[in-house]
């Protein structure tokens, strides 16, 4: 337990000290929110209509962008190799690291995003359902981002490749996340069902991603 806590603490401290962690993820998120109306035009009706989708996409990109940092420095400075000497299997290491990533970028953004929805004229009745769906969905996003980061850790231009690999995996989270957030014309039944499915998807990711990551990391160390 102490080992896991040490690992989590280290990642949290590092993300705090290096480039502000939460702060910059937040900044990026804000900026995507600014670009959307600039690109699409200021018409309040159109904006309101695309607000939930826009927020989800911004969340997704923010989480994704910070992903390739999950393992890269640990890989380059030999920390990952050294970790194979410890009692904690790499699968658990990667679960903890994804958790740290969620705590420093997924979770804060998932909470902030709906609140910032007013910038896109988000319907106020949607704020809390959206927040619930995003908090749940962002767990999956962070773990998938971790998987993508692990799969590309040994490649120098990992950043974009991560996107390419992970974005298709994000599609189900996005689709059910949006309908779980109560957007669109769906009734409460569909919303609840979507929420349940989102939950199931998240669980699957929580199981699959650490194993995939662990295996990928091990493969790169050979």
């Amino acid at each position: 337990m102490k080992m896991l806590w040490a690992l989590l603490k280290r990642d949290l401290v590092l993300s705090w000290r290096q480039g502000g962690g939460v702060g910059t993820a937040f900044g990026f998120f804000l900026t995507v929110i600014v670009l959307l109306p600039l690109g699409i035009g200021p018409d309040a009706g159109v904006l309101q209509r695309i607000a939930p989708g826009g927020l989800w996409i911004a969340l997704l990109l923010s989480v994704l962008l910070s992903a390739d940092q999950i393992y890269s420095t640990d890989y380059e400075d030999g920390s990952l190799e050294l970790m194979t000497f410890g009692a904690v299997p790499l699968e658990v290491v990667s679960a903890i690291k994804s958790l740290a990533h969620w705590l420093t970028s997924g979770l804060p953004l998932a909470i902030a995003a709906p609140l910032l929805g007013f910038l896109l004229n988000l319907d106020t009745s949607l704020v809390f359902p959206l927040m619930g769906a995003m908090v749940l969905g962002s767990v999956g996003l962070s773990f998938l981002a971790g998987l993508g980061a692990a799969v590309t850790v040994g490649l120098r231009r990992g950043g974009l490749l991560v996107s390419l690999l992970v974005l298709p995996l994000y599609v189900p989270v996005l689709i059910f996340g949006i309908s779980a957030g109560g957007a669109g014309t769906a009734g409460p039944d569909i919303t609840a069902a979507s929420f349940a499915i989102l939950f199931a998807i998240t669980l699957v990711i929580l199981v699959v991603a650490p194993f995939g990551s662990g295996a990928a990391l091990r493969a790169y160390m050979r």
Binding site: K2, M3, W5, A6, L7, R10, V13, L14, R17, Q18, T73, E76, D77, G78, S79, E81, L82, M83, T84, F85, G86, A87, V88, M221, R222
Partner: protein, 210 residues
Amino acid sequence: MELSGHKLSCERGGRLVFSDLDFSIKAGEMLVLRGPNGAGKTSLLRVIAGLNEVSDGELRFDGGQDDEPIARYAQFIAHQDAFKPALTVEENLQFWSDFFGGGDVQLALEAFSLERLASFSAALLSAGQKRRLALGRLAMIDRPVWLLDEPTVGLDAASVKQLQTLMNRHLENHGIIIATTHIDLGIKGAKVFDFATMQTSGQMNGEDAG
């Protein structure tokens, strides 16, 4: 406790680095790996640590539990130092101490006279100070097998002495050391495995074998 390899070979990137390599080392012994650049010294250490696969032959370790890899009994000092520039010297050591199940950070600091640098960020250290920080792990974490890849690189004379003391103590405590080097490590009674001849020769007297 005994660590031995029998007809080991290692392939990296599709090329055979070495083959038919035999070595054996017992508790309290040290094996020095020597040979020209690219001979496979680092590769051998990585094979023993389980970081590279054994492509042929057998690697045996008596003294641990059967199902656990050698890595669980070993410490590895590689060329990369595995430290975070954003953390202080002490925080860095504390992390590895916690991760490996405990160990006194103070011991690591004292072993290489790093006490006064404890609160410095690791980014500010000079090359040799970084190396000392990495070697500090040896003093702090208690494991029987030490795998050292050119441990003296960048160390000043005083630190080399401290390292020698540490290694001698480890051998007295029935530890095992395998180290690669191009210069003399100054440990009396160490066996030398030479990659030029692929033979373990008796003892080295602390003279530079060039």
